[in-house]
């Protein structure tokens, strides 16, 4: 893998730090009146999501990380692993519960999502910004009930629980924003 000097650091560059792949968020050049120059660098650890602040001597190099974001189709889960496929090559990858995390509540079979690969292995799964899911369970909305702020919980086919307007019934197909977990609209057929 290539190495990168602090002068090449830019937002989005993937590098190895203490054995973990990281993504650079910000690179700030600081230099005292005389003497050594430094780079104050903000990075996100791609395995645990934590943000780090590190200081490098300017001109120093670190190893790049073999990290790729690939668009894949979600196939199914066997209870332990989630299975994905690159549509063009039929190449399949599987990711454990730890990697998929809360994203699992938005994964519907055959939907496309972004899988982050490090050395060929999935380390993160990002769902599409919007998904269309069917309501599997929700209580009938009571006309005139305003105590709940005009909405109620609904369980979707993937297990996600979303606040929906009172007029939504079981079996309806809804558009959900996965970044906020909020109801957007009824899906248009």
């Amino acid at each position: 893998m290539a190495t990168y000097s602090t002068n090449q650091f830019r937002s989005g560059l993937k590098v190895m730090l203490d054995g973990d792949p990281c993504s650079i968020i910000e690179n700030q050049f600081v230099k005292p009146g005389k003497g050594q120059a430094f780079n104050r660098v903000k990075l996100r650890n791609l395995l645990n999501g934590r943000v780090l602040e590190k200081t490098f001597k300017s001109g120093e190099s670190i190893e790049g990380a073999d990290v790729m974001e690939t668009s894949m189709q979600y196939l199914y889960t066997d209870g332990e692993f989630f299975h994905f496929m690159v549509p063009d090559t039929y190449e399949q990858h599987m990711a454990g519960q730890k990697v998929v995390g809360d994203t699992s509540q938005w994964l519907k079979e055959e939907d496309m999502c972004d899988v982050t690969l490090w050395n060929g292995n999935p380390i993160a799964v990002t769902p599409p910004n919007f998904v269309t899911l069917t309501v599997t369970q929700t209580d009938p909305g009571l006309r005139g009930d305003t105590s709940s702020g005009g909405n109620k919980p609904a369980t979707m086919e993937t297990g996600a629980v979303v606040r929906v307007p009172l007029f939504i019934n079981e079996g309806e197909v809804l558009k959900i924003d996965t970044r906020t977990g909020e109801y957007v609209s009824r899906a248009k057929d």
């Binding site: 600081v30 230099k31 009146g33 005389k34 003497g35 050594q36 602040e53 590190k54 490098f56």
Partner: protein, 323 residues
């Protein structure tokens, strides 16, 4: 901002005209490389008649100057008297909120003056251009101790590294133990200075901009300044810096005029960096550089502080990524 820059340049030229300091222009290109191992000259390859060539006729590389210092000292040794220059300086590898690889530098020299007298003139220039009132005089060691809690002149590498950790500075790949390497100790000290101390300089307790003149810098940071004893055996450089609003604006000192001492320091730097020694400058020192004090001031930064800009890009016509 175009008008603001033009107004500042006119004001600076008026300041020196009134004081009888002569404006000069020296080349941006030189066959000499900077002696400061922390600075990097961009390299230019010319193919012109009379341009320097090797014995086989191939053109020699020329270097864009990191400051006009060497050329101006050659003028001083030739008897120019007090001179100033407003020109372009170049430093490869430097770009950020306060740095652009190409920038405007004001540099001036006062034969027969010491750095204390020059500090008063820098103060006068800061008052005229920034309107912040007389500069506060601050000791380097005191400013460092106030921010970090250590005496920078005597603190060990381990103590400096510890302080960095306590202040949340996480340095990658910097050995924190070896106390016998003075360069490593200096690096930790400079890291704390750049990260913890400098942002507080040139600001009052409420964070409002003030002008500060800082002196008493460690001896190991300056290749071309005279050194003196602080009184307790600690060697300090006869050097000062002007800060305002957390920004380093100027760096000045009593110029080293001893050609043999300069030759020794150049040789020591050359041994470390492999860079050739500036023979023309040494020849000028041999011929006799008058006792003098000199200072370099970043004009772009002066413009930033004057107009409250937080990034140098705001005062440049075209920053390096759009040049």
């Amino acid at each position: 901002m175009l008008r603001a820059r033009a107004a500042l340049l006119a004001q600076l030229r008026m300041f020196f005209a009134q004081r009888g300091v002569l404006e000069v222009e020296t080349p941006c290109l030189s066959r000499a490389v900077t002696a400061d191992p922390q600075l990097h000259n961009p390299v230019v390859q010319l193919d012109a008649p009379r341009a320097p060539r090797a014995a086989d006729g191939q053109p020699l590389p020329l270097y864009l100057q990191t400051s006009p210092e060497a050329h101006m000292k050659r003028l001083l040794a030739a008897g120019s008297g007090p001179i100033y220059q407003i020109g372009r300086a170049f430093r490869d590898g430097e770009a950020g909120a306060l740095h652009n690889p190409e920038f405007t530098m004001l540099e001036w020299y006062r034969p027969g003056w010491n750095h204390r007298a020059l500090m008063d003139e820098v103060d006068a220039l800061a008052q005229e251009t920034l309107g912040l009132g007389p500069a506060r005089r601050v000791d380097y060691g005191r400013a460092f101790a106030d921010a970090v809690g250590l005496d920078p002149h005597v603190a060990s590498t381990a103590a400096l590294a510890d302080a960095a950790r306590t202040h949340g500075v996480d340095a990658v790949g910097l050995d924190a133990v070896d106390d016998d390497d003075p360069a490593l100790r200096a690096t930790w000290r400079q890291l704390l200075w750049a990260d913890r101390v400098e942002p507080r300089l040139g600001r009052d307790a409420d964070g409002a901009a003030q002008a500060w003149l800082v002196e008493g810098f460690p001896a190991d940071e300056e290749a071309l300044a005279r050194l003196r004893d602080r009184g307790d055996g600690v060697r300090i450089a006869s050097r000062f810096e002007l800060y305002a609003d957390g920004v380093e604006l100027a760096n000045g000192y009593d110029e080293l005029i001893d050609a043999d001492e300069q030759r020794r320091r150049f040789a020591a730097d050359a041994a470390r960096t492999g860079r050739p020694v500036d023979d023309a400058l040494l020849a000028a020192l041999d011929a006799g550089l008058p006792v003098c004090a000199g200072v370099a001031l970043g004009v772009d930064r002066l413009l930033m502080v004057r107009h409250g800009a937080t990034s140098i890009d705001a005062v440049l016509t075209f920053p390096i990524d759009r040049a």
